[in-house]
Structures are given as structure tokens and as C-alpha cells.
Symmetry: C2
């Protein structure tokens, strides 16, 4: 496994692999890797000759009041996970390598980014689209892997790739959960033991929604039941619980033809997300 920190080094290696006709699978991450990331790397490993993982806590996708400085980092552990999962190359750039002092370009999207997490995090998806575009242009993968855990992000990336004619196959991978149901997230590390217990209410509400949606097609009723469930937990504060179309991320009234039940919930100061496709 190679670890590089400059765009030039990545390009050089990728060109060598491409010259040999090898396919490239790419897993972009912000590091602090867990089983969720590992499942993406595993999937990339199966479907490609070479696997590239980027580890970059992207400043541009954090709002001014968000947890950029505190975002957890552990390069050594990340390296072990990547190595053991058969990664060929880790790209771990410094922010200065990615953003020149006079950087002023960006990739953005309307419609899909306006609701759900986009409401609470107005600059978030601009940051995500911009950095993912940059990483795609650097790595030029055949396939790129994203978790369904960030369901809106996955929909946004898919749309961006389609709209901007990026010749990359986007592969969405299922949410990986702790044994008790909590969706794996680097931010789970923020939780106190008491909050960790309280956080279970997210996956419980998601399961409840999925179960109800088997028979109840009225989105409002299902969402209300999920909200009621979450509100039984005193440490939980709802940011949003919504039923949206799985492609457009627009609110739906009826649960039909591919929908997502999605939520963001504060547990103490930690904002967690979870969702299910119905």
C-alpha cells in the first residue's frame, strides 16, 4: 500500500495503472474509518483492479459553527484498516494541497440540496460537491463508493455525476450498524455513555418507519409516528424527520415508487443522521 499526499503523486500512480488497463475503485472519506467505510473498501476491492481511498477532512463542507476543528482524526488506525482491507493507495492531502489561497471555484446544486441536511447545513453540499469533483478529477476512478448512511449526499453525488457528465459509476452501499442498531458514524465518538444509549432512538424510529411503510402509504402518518418515537427520548432533539423521493429528495405525500425516510436528530450536542429506503 502506498500513502501519498500530493495530487501529482496520485496522478502519476493512476496513469501507470491505467496504462496497464487496470480499473480504479475509489472510496472518498474524511478518515476516522469504521466498519461502514470498511464495507465500502471491501466492495471496491471486489469490483476493481486497484482501490484508492482518500482521507481528507474537507474544510469547505463544514459551516462556521460546525465541528471542523474537533472532527476526530486517527491516521494510524485508518492506515491499518485500509491496509487490511486491501487498499492500494491512500491519498491524504493537507488542506493547502487541495485549496490554494485564492481558490474561488465551486460545484453546487439546487433542488436536492435544499431540504433535509441542506436546511441546517447551508454550505455543506457545496463543499461536498466541490471536493468530490476535485477528487474525481484527481483519481479518475471507474467506480466510486458512497454509503447510504449519508442518503442525501449519495443522491446529490449521483445527480451531480449525471448532470455534469462525469464518466464514473456511483455505487451506493448499505448502512452498517452497531449490533444494537445505531448507524456507524465517526461522530458517534462524541457521545457520552448515556447519550450513546439515547442515540438508539434513531435506528428504532427508522425501523418503525420502515415497518409502518409496508402497509401505511400516507407519508405524514408514518413521519408522525417516527417523530413520536423519537420524542420518547428526553436527550433527543429532532432537526428533521421527513419522507422524500429517493432520487429528487423532494417531500412526498404518498410512500410509493422509491422513497427515503430520513432524519437528523441531536443527541445532546451531537447531530446524528439515519434513514431507510422504502
Amino acid at each position: 500500500m502506498i500513502i501519498v499526499s500530493t495530487v501529482e503523486e496520485v496522478r502519476k500512480q493512476i496513469k501507470e495503472w491505467k496504462m496497464q488497463g487496470q480499473s480504479i475503485g475509489f472510496v472518498p472519506t474524511m478518515g476516522y474509518l469504521h466498519e461502514g467505510h470498511k464495507s465500502l473498501i471491501d466492495c471496491a476491492r471486489k469490483e476493481n483492479d486497484r482501490v484508492v481511498v482518500s482521507i481528507f477532512v474537507n474544510p469547505m463542507q463544514f459551516g462556521p459553527a460546525e465541528d471542523l476543528a474537533d472532527y476526530p482524526r486517527d491516521l494510524e488506525h485508518d492506515t491499518q484498516i485500509c491496509e487490511s482491507a486491501g487498499t492500494d493507495l491512500i491519498f491524504h492531502p493537507e488542506p493547502e494541497e487541495m485549496y490554494d489561497g485564492d481558490f474561488c471555484s465551486f460545484v453546487d446544486m439546487s433542488v436536492l440540496t435544499e431540504g433535509l441536511c441542506g436546511k441546517t447545513r447551508p454550505v455543506h453540499f457545496r463543499g461536498v460537491c466541490t471536493v468530490v469533483t476535485k477528487l474525481f478529477n484527481i483519481v479518475t476512478p471507474d467506480r466510486a463508493y458512497f454509503g447510504q448512511k449519508d442518503g442525501q449526499q449519495l443522491a446529490v453525488i449521483r445527480r451531480m455525476v449525471r448532470d455534469l457528465n462525469m464518466d464514473i459509476c456511483i455505487v451506493g452501499c448499505p448502512i452498517v450498524r452497531e449490533e444494537d442498531g445505531l448507524a456507524k458514524s465517526s461522530r458517534n465518538t462524541y457521545l457520552s455513555p448515556e447519550e450513546r444509549k439515547a442515540a438508539l432512538v434513531l435506528s428504532q424510529a427508522v425501523r418503525l418507519g420502515a415497518e409502518l411503510a409496508k402497509t401505511e402509504k400516507d407519508a405524514k402518518k408514518v413521519v408522525l409516528a417516527m417523530k413520536d418515537k423519537i420524542q420518547t427520548e428526553p436527550l433527543a432533539r429532532i432537526d428533521y424527520v421527513e419522507a422524500v423521493d429517493a432520487l429528487s429528495m423532494q417531500p412526498v405525500k404518498t410512500l410509493e415508487g422509491g422513497c427515503m425516510l430520513a432524519m437528523a436528530v441531536y443527541i445532546g450536542k451531537t447531530r446524528l443522521i439515519d434513514n431507510v429506503l422504502v
Copy 2:
């Protein structure tokens, strides 16, 4: 020469050429080709194994009050020019091929796009950046050719390519002028015979500015002299005349280290631009 209208056809042909190790030169245009475009194709022809020209009047870069519907078109003549200049492939898509009904992604830029033409045409550069990104992703050229005539556009494209890590060499080509000095432009066709004469004042002011700048380093004085020159022409109405840094497009006080004297002037209803690097 091949003429195709779908993204799929372009990709297929480009992949074939790349498999053979051939380099791709790309000239994106809005058609109604003139000597200016031809000089770009000539340049691309010299430096690449294959030359691709796109002809697409991009709706996204026209404001609601602008000349999208009236923009001149002549595919037959364009085809002749491309053929005679040794083009290998023309990509001539319909708007629906480029923009799905629910298209909602875009590439944009701050700083460089805020002054000059960006002031009068607020959505223009978003449209340019977005369509050029799409075309770059479709054609995947080694080199792309743009005229210095659209000086701000060239600076914007260069910055976009740098900021977003597009692996493409941007080649800027000199302004091509009519014998009497008027910069070649598809929009010159809008001019009445009387306006055509009046339009000479742009290149005259540009020449004056370039001449003055050899000794006078005070940007304000040079710009003022250019404005005075333009105002001797009754049919001319100044949109802007400015001295800017050639890379950042920010106004300068002193003409040093690579500047651009740029102008947009209405001749009757037709908005023309011209510039010179000093």
C-alpha cells in the same frame, strides 16, 4: 470528419482514439464560426492527433433578456469551416441532450466573475463554467483552446481548471481582427453598416490603451483616455472600461505584472467586447 449529436457517440469515438494513444485537442464553440474560431482549430490541429469541435448555443449562459433566440446559427457553413480546418469530430447536441428536464447542478466561481462582463451578465459565467465542465467530461481532451477575445472567460476557465484539478491544458489564442481592427465576433453580424463603422472605436480605444500603457503606469489615466476615445463615437455607449489583473480579474491601480485593459461597449443594441494584455 464525423458529426455526432449524442454524448454516447462522442465517448465511444474518443475512447477508440485514446486506446490508440492519440491526443485530443478540443475547441468548444457556440457555432457561427469565423476566422477567430478557425485560428483555434488551426492551433488544435497542430498540437494534437485528433481535433474535436463542439457547436452548442448554451442556453444556460444567456440571461433572460439576452439574445439566445436570436443568436446566429449556420451549421452548414460551420461544418465547411471545421472540415477545411481538419476537424475530426463535430459534437452538435440539442439542448435536451445537454440538460435533462430536472437538471440542477452547476459550476460557478466568485472573485473573477464579479466584475467586467460578470456585472452586466450575472448568470453568464455560471453557464459557461457548467457547460465547459460538461463538455470537458464528455470529450476528455488533453488540450482545450479558447480565444483571448473573451479575456475574462479565458481567465475563468484557467482558474476553474486549476481549482477543480481538471487534467487539461488550457491554451489561449490571440484575438483575430478584421483588416480595419474590429475583433472578430459572431455578434458583429448584428451590426448595421453604420454601426459596423462605429464599432471600430473599440479596437481604436484598445490600441490607444496599449500604446499609452507603454509609458503611463497609472491605470486610471489610461482607462480615462480609452473612455474619452470611445465617447467620441455617438453610437457607442460604454458598459465598462477597466484595467484588471490578468489572472485574478481584480481592478488594478498600477499597470504592472500582467494586466488586461478590457471593455464592453454597446453599439446600438449590440454589446461588443475587446481587450488587450499589457
